[in-house]
Amino acid sequence: MAFEIPKQTYSGAIRSVTIGKGAKAITLGGETSYPFYLFEGEMANIPKIAMEVWDTDPGEEWADPCKEPFKDVLADPVAWAKKCVNDYGAQALALILVSTDPNGDNAPAEKAAATAKKVLEAVDVPIIVYGTGNVEKDAEVLPAVAEACQGANLVLGPVQDKNYKKIGAACLGYNHSVAANTPIDVNLAKQLNILLGQLGVKDNTILVDPTTGGLGYGMEYTYSVMERDRMAALTQEDEKLQSPIINYMSQEVWKVKECKQTNEEAPQLGDQTKRGILMEAVTAVSLLLAGADLLIMRHPEAVKLANTIISELAS
C-alpha cells in the first residue's frame, strides 16, 4: 500500500495585510498552513524583507561589517534608503528613528517626521517606521510621522499597550498600518489586538510584533511564541491572532558580543564579517520557519541569503 502523507487540517488562515502604495505596495500574510508547509496548504504571499535605515549615523553602535556596505550614506537617511532600493533591491524599508531616543539625542517629533517624509518621497517601496520603544516619546513621534506622511500606508511601531491609543488613532486618521508590539507572550499579543480593534483599527491594518530575542540570547522564546501564535491562528481559529508577524531582528542580532568582536579580539570565532552575516541569516531562517511574514534586516548579504531560502522553500 502506498504511503500517504498524514496531513494537518487547518481551520483558519492568516489575514492579508497590504502595506505601501502604488506599484511597489506589498501584501503580507494569506497563509493557510504552517510556514512553508506547501504540501498541505498555501502561502498566498511569500514573506518579505525590509532593509533597516537609521535616521542618524550609527557610529560606534554598529559593528564594522554592517557599516561597510553603507559607509558613504550612513549620515544621510535619504541616500541610505535609495542605496537599499537601487543597489540592493530592497522590497521594503524600515526607518528607525533612533535620533528621537530620550536617552540619546532626544530629537523633536517634527524633525523625525520631516526625515520620514523625505525618505518616503525618495523611494517607492513600502516603509516601516519604528520609534525607539520609549512609550511616551513614541506617542509624540509616531503620530507626527503619521500626519506628515498622510495616506502613504506606512507601518508604524512599536505600538504598545501603554501608547496604542495615540498611535492607533493617528494611524486610523491618516491611513497607516500598525505593528502591535508585546513582550513575547501569546495572550498579551491577542489582548493588544483586541484593544486596537476596540479603538477602530481594522484587523487588516495590524501586524503583530512579538518582540525578538537575539540568536543565543533568547531567540527561542520568540520562536515558540510565534509557533504558538500560528497554531492558534490556523488550527484553533483564534481570529485575533491571525495577523501577519513582523520581527525587528537585526538590532538584536548585531548588538551581541559575538557580532561586535573583531578578528583580532576573537580569532577563535573565525571571520567577523562572515560570522555576523550568518548570525543574521540563521536568525532570519529560524524566524521564517516559526511564522515571520516581514523581517527587518541589516546586512545586504544576510538579506540575500534569507531571500534565497524564502524563494527555494516557497517555489
Binding site: 502506498a2 504511503f3 502523507i5 498524514p6 494537518q8 512553508f36 508547509y37 506547501l38 504540501f39 536617552n103 540619546g104 520603544g133 530575542g213 537575539g214 540568536l215 543565543g216 540570547y217 533568547g218 531567540m219 527561542e220 522564546y221 520562536y223 515558540s224 509557533e227 504558538r228 497554531m231 548588538k255 551581541v256 558580543k257 559575538e258 561586535k260 577563535q268 570565532l269 573565525g270 571571520d271 567577523q272 562572515k274 560570522r275 552575516i277 550568518l278 548570525m279 541569516a281 540563521v282 536568525t283 531562517v285 529560524s286 520557519l289 516559526a290 548579504e301 541569503l305 534569507a306 534565497t308 531560502i309 527555494e312 522553500l313 517555489s315
Partner: protein, 446 residues
C-alpha cells in the same frame, strides 16, 4: 499510541499473585500504563505479551546511541512536532566531511580546526561533534587509514560513507570503539549492508528516493533484525528536504508509522558548494527535525551561528532557564570596576550581560538566585528584597575581588534601595535603568 491500563491488563496472567509489588494485576497494569512500573517485575507474563507490550511502549522515533561507552550521544527519541509541546531532547549533530581524495595535510588541518572549535557558554561546551568520512575510490586500505587518522587525531563521532560493504567494514573495524554509523544501505545493496550492520551491531542509514521505496527499505532492514536505523530520503533540494523531514517526524509520531520512526540524516554538503548557503540550509534542518547535518567544511564563522541556533531550539521550554548564582566578570573587570546585581533568570542574564559586553565597560555582574524569576516578578514574590540581596552581596565574595563599594540595582527593583542601604551600610546603592537597552548609556555615564 500507548496502551491503556485495561488493554495491558488483558495480557497479564490475572492471578493477583502480588509478586510484582502491587496488590492486583489490574493495579500493576495501571501502573504500567502510566510508566510507573516495569513489565519485568511480573515473573509470569508470557513472551507473546512481552513482545506486544514492548512494541506498544517503544518510543515512536528510535533513539540511536553513538559514540564511545563513556561519552554516548543520542539522536532521535523525539516525541513532539513543536518544542513548546514538551521539548526537543537530542540536538542535531553537526558533522563535517572528510574524503579519501583529501591530502594528508588537509585532513590534519581539518582535525585540528575541529578540536579547537569549542565555545564556552553559561557552563556549556558548544562544539560540532562528528565527521562523515567518505570513500571516493573504493580503496579499503586508504579508507581505513583515513579513519585511523580521525580516531587518533580527534574525539569526533564517525559516519562511514561508501556504497561498498567491504570498504565500510574496513573502516568500522578501526572505528568500532565509537560506534560509527554506516552510510548507506540502498535497495541495491540492502542484503549485504544489513548483514554487516547486524554482524557489527552498528547503526545503518537507509537511503532511498521517495517515501514508498524508503519505507520498503527500512521494513526490510528491520525484518533482518536491525533496530538502529537512520533515514536519508535522497532529496538534495531544500524544499523537498524540508518536506521530507516534516513528513518523517509527523508520520512517526501521529499514526506511529514505524518504517519512518528513525532519526534523519541531512547531507547539506551535497546540496550546494557555497558554504554560506550550506549554513542556512543547515539552519533549516536544525529547526526542522534533522538528526545529523553534514556540512562540507567546519569553520568557526559558520558553525558558531549554528551552535547558538541549536542551543536555542533544543533548550527545554518547560523549565525556566537558570544561570548559576555567583559573580560573572564581564569585559575583564579589575578591583576598580563597577558592580551590578540582577536575577538568575537566563533571559535576564543574557540580555543584561549582552548589553554590558556590547558596550565594553568592565563590570562585575552579580547573579542572585531568584529561582529563575525575572526582576519584576522576583521583586514582587519577595525573592529580590533588600535584605536578601544585601545578604547575598555580603556572602558573594565580591569584596575580595573589587574595592569599589557602589552597587547598581535594576531600575524595576528601585524600591529595595532603602532596605539595601540598611543591609549594606558601607555601600552606595545606584539605581540602574529599567530597560536593559539603556544599560550602556548608564554605565558610560558613571
Amino acid at each position: 499510541m500507548a496502551l491503556t491500563g485495561i488493554a495491558i491488563f488483558k495480557m497479564l496472567p490475572k492471578t493477583n499473585c502480588k509478586e510484582c509489588g502491587f496488590p492486583t494485576c489490574l493495579a500493576f497494569a495501571m501502573a504500567l500504563a502510566s510508566g510507573k512500573a516495569e513489565l519485568a517485575k511480573c515473573p509470569y507474563v508470557s513472551e507473546e505479551a512481552k513482545e506486544q507490550l514492548a512494541e506498544a511502549s517503544a518510543p515512536p522515533i528510535r533513539p540511536v546511541k553513538l559514540g564511545p561507552k563513556d561519552a554516548v550521544k543520542t539522536i532521535g527519541g523525539e516525541t513532539v512536532m513543536f518544542r513548546h509541546e514538551k521539548t526537543f531532547f537530542n540536538p542535531t549533530l553537526i558533522a563535517g566531511l572528510l574524503t579519501t581524495a583529501m591530502s594528508d595535510a588537509e585532513v590534519s588541518a581539518k582535525l585540528d580546526t575541529f578540536m579547537k572549535m569549542q565555545f564556552e557558554r553559561v557552563g556549556l561546551n558548544l562544539r560540532p561533534e562528528m565527521f562523515a568520512i567518505q570513500d571516493v575510490d573504493g580503496d579499503a586500505g586508504k579508507f581505513a587509514a583515513l579513519v585511523k587518522k580521525v580516531m587518533e587525531g580527534s574525539d569526533a563521532l564517525i559516519m562511514l560513507c561508501s556504497d561498498k560493504p567491504e570498504i565500510l567494514k574496513a573502516g568500522a573495524e578501526v572505528a568500532k570503539d565509537r560506534r560509527p554509523i554506516l552510510y548507506a544501505a540502498t535497495a541495491a545493496n540492502a542484503d549485504a549492508m544489513g548483514a554487516l550492520a547486524k554482524e557489527l551491531d552498528l547503526p545503518l542509514v537507509a537511503k532511498a528516493d521517495g517515501y514508498d521505496a524508503l519505507a520498503e527499505l527500512t521494513t526490510k532492514l528491520t525484518g533482518m533484525g536491525l533496530k538502529d536505523l537512520l533515514l536519508d530520503s535522497g532529496a538534495r533540494k531544500l524544499k523537498q528536504v524540508f518536506q521530507d523531514n516534516i513528513v518523517f517526524r509527523r508520520a512517526a509520531l501521529v499514526p506511529k508509522f514505524r518504517p519512518f520512526g528513525f532519526p534523519v540524516v541531512n547531507c547539506v554538503a551535497e546540496m550546494t558548494n557555497d558554504p554560506m548557503l550550506q549554513t542556512v540550509y543547515a539552519a533549516t534542518c536544525i529547526a526542522k527535525y534533522g538528526g545529523i547535518v553534514v556540512l562540507s567544511d567546519l569553520q568557526p564563522d559558520s558553525v558558531f551561528p549554528l551552535l547558538l541556533q541549536r542551543l536555542n531550539i533544543y533548550t527545554d521550554p518547560q523549565k525556566p532557564m537558570i544561570v548559576t548564582q555567583g559573580i560573572y566578570p564581564l569585559n575583564n573587570p579589575d578591583e576598580n570596576s563597577l558592580i551590578a546585581v540582577t536575577t538568575n533568570f537566563a533571559l535576564t542574564y543574557f540580555i543584561v550581560s549582552g548589553e554590558i559586553e556590547g558596550c565594553k565597560v568592565p563590570t562585575w555582574l552579580l547573579i542572585k538566585d531568584t529561582e529563575g524569576l525575572s526582576v519584576m516578578t522576583a521583586w514582587a514574590a519577595g525573592k529580590f528584597s533588600g535584605d536578601d540581596v544585601g545578604m547575598f552581596v555580603k556572602k558573594s565574595g565580591i569584596t575580595e575581588k573589587a574595592k569599589t563599594r557602589s552597587l547598581i540595582i535594576p531600575g524595576y527593583a528601585a524600591a529595595i534601595s532603602g532596605d539595601l542601604e540598611e543591609e549594606l551600610p558601607d555601600w552606595k546603592i545606584l539605581i540602574g535603568p529599567r530597560e536593559a537597552s539603556h544599560i550602556p548609556a548608564f554605565l558610560k555615564s558613571l
